[in-house]
Amino acid sequence: MATDLVPEVVQPAADSSQPASAPRRKRRTKTLGRDLWRYRWLYLLLLPGLVYFALFKYLPMYGLTIAFKDYVPFLGYSGSEWVGLKHFQELFTGPDFGRLMFNTLLLAVLTVVFVFPAPIVVALLLNELRVNVLKRSVQSLVYIPHFLSWTIVASLTYLLFSVDFGVIANWIHGLVGGQKTDYVAQADWFRPLIVLQLLWKQTGWGTIIYLAALAGVDSQLYEAARVDGAGRWRQFWHITLPAIRPTIVVMAILTSGHLMDSGFEQIWLMTTSLNRDVADVFDTFVYYIGITQGSFSYATAVGLFKGVIGVVLIFGSNLLAKRMGQRGLF
């Protein structure tokens, strides 16, 4: 390992050609500098990414400290006065908390009940489809909405459901009669439309992961089951369903971490002056308080509260999954 200290000009190839297997000797203080020099090109490549993560991911995490301060821009992060849990107290005892919590949780429940199972069902149906051409065409079409922006989805909703000329609104009106309903603006229709949008946008895309799991099932299992006289239903029940259970568990864990994320763009775009009471969730509240009103510290506290719950949920559900004998995510 003498080559370690030899400048690269002399021994260009050797210094990086024996990395993994190189016997580790006792190296202490010199090690760091030597490694840095030895792998300088790799570290150089790493550098821009590191700077990115430091600036746009970890600096904001440091910025979270203003949740415990009364942040004044010209005093900066460290100069602003420390106020402890004041903003959290304000949040928990304030008039908005109950409503925000209720709206956020209700949307989360609706998501779990309607949006989460949808791709599983569709994937299972697709898996049973015997005509391959049809299967592929259906897949191609239902993936499309995933790639459209929330502004497009909101606009489509508006174009289809608006009072004046919305096709679906008119159609329902023709069927039911009575007064015309303004689906887009009214509070009653906010949650159904949100769920509908999520279903339209994400169901197709969500099937990919389950279809991948289904494609991995050994076909011999089905043959063996058939020899044993298992019908189609029993094959589904005893082979297909168990095959995707681990995937369902992983997706459930991932989803649980986002239960408090209501999808800022989607909610924001669907919020009107008439439905604010049911539409306000933590995500949009942070925007109103922080960006519109400039209460950075309070808004950061709200965001931090939400983020911490997200972390607790994802680790909690992972633990739960492991307790229940599943593999979990990490």
Partner: protein, 295 residues
């Protein structure tokens, strides 16, 4: 998926098959119908939009709406801005993602595990909207196009997928290059990148779609309506509480196709994505995306 070719065909099984075909076909149709309707509506006259309940082919085929939106500075500027930001932003994202993923794929690199864990942690927890906004503000990026690109420069999830891809490249090729006197930088540029064309293609599309569709960044960081992107215009024109007349107000006296232009704007903002969609689709269907997060 040949496992179902020879099948017992009980009556129930056959009935299910028929129903399944019907249900899935209906699902696919329902998924694309709104898009087809909007496309048809964008070529229809104002009166046809308001009078006909639903159509996929306009009686009278007109392009007024497109003439109108492309005659407004606001729209054209937003379109050019979006194209520019998407192009430059995607290049930045690819550069940063590829250069960071390569060293992270080298298991022998001291410090790799630490960096990797720091990256994975950002998938679970983040500073959130306000602290990120403050960083962008403190960097002087408010009202700058950079604010639409830099804060999103690396998607940690994509980074991990690319890293896994690099890890699976045959080590022998890189080894040979090293023995021939290539340093790591040259190995990366001359050996690894040319082998990575498929994944570069995939992620440039994913990144481009992400920037093109981004609404939150311009909403947060761009005040100056002259720097708005297409998504902001779409929102201003067609959102539930929008006031479309005020947005493209440059022609105050001229009557313009008020409903029709909403259709046209949606079409223009959607079309590039639908155009690239077949290329996108070629790559993502393998389900590689999540699998590679678990090492």
């Amino acid at each position: 998926m040949k496992q179902r070719v020879r099948y017992y065909d009980s009556v129930g099984s056959r009935v299910f098959d028929v129903l399944n075909v019907v249900v899935l076909t209906a699902l696919a149709v329902v998924t694309v119908l709104p898009l087809l309707y909007v496309l048809a509506g964008s070529f229809a006259t104002e009166s046809e939009i308001s009078s006909r309940p639903f159509f996929l082919w306009p009686h009278k085929f007109v392009t007024d709406t497109y003439h109108y939106i492309f005659s407004t500075d606001t729209f054209v500027r937003a379109l050019l801005t979006t194209v520019g930001v998407t192009a430059v932003g995607t290049v930045i994202q690819l550069l940063l993602t590829l250069t960071m993923a390569y060293p992270l794929a080298k298991k022998f690199l001291p410090g790799r595990a630490l960096v990797l864990n720091l990256v994975i942690f950002t998938l679970v927890f983040s500073g959130g909207m306000i602290p990120t906004y403050l960083v962008v503000r403190d960097l002087g990026l408010l009202d700058s196009y950079w604010a639409l690109m830099l804060p999103l420069a690396i998607n940690p999830f994509y980074l991990i997928v690319v890293k896994s891809f690099f890890q699976e490249l045959p080590e022998a090729l890189e080894e040979a290059a090293r023995i021939d006197g290539c340093n790591e930088l040259n190995v990366f540029l001359r050996i690894v990148l040319p082998l990575s064309k498929p994944i570069i293609a995939t992620f440039s599309l994913f990144y481009a779609v992400g920037i093109w569709n981004d609404y939150m960044s311009p909403l947060l960081y761009i005040d100056d309506s002259k720097k708005w992107t297409l998504q902001m215009i779409v929102r201003q024109l067609t959102a539930a509480n929008a006031d479309s007349a005020n947005v493209l107000q440059q022609l105050e006296t001229v009557t313009f196709p008020e409903q029709g232009l909403k259709f046209a704007v949606v079409v223009v903002a959607t079309l590039p994505i639908l155009f690239f969609y077949p290329f996108l689709q070629k790559h993502f269907a393998k389900g590689v995306l999540i699998g590679s997060v678990k090492e």
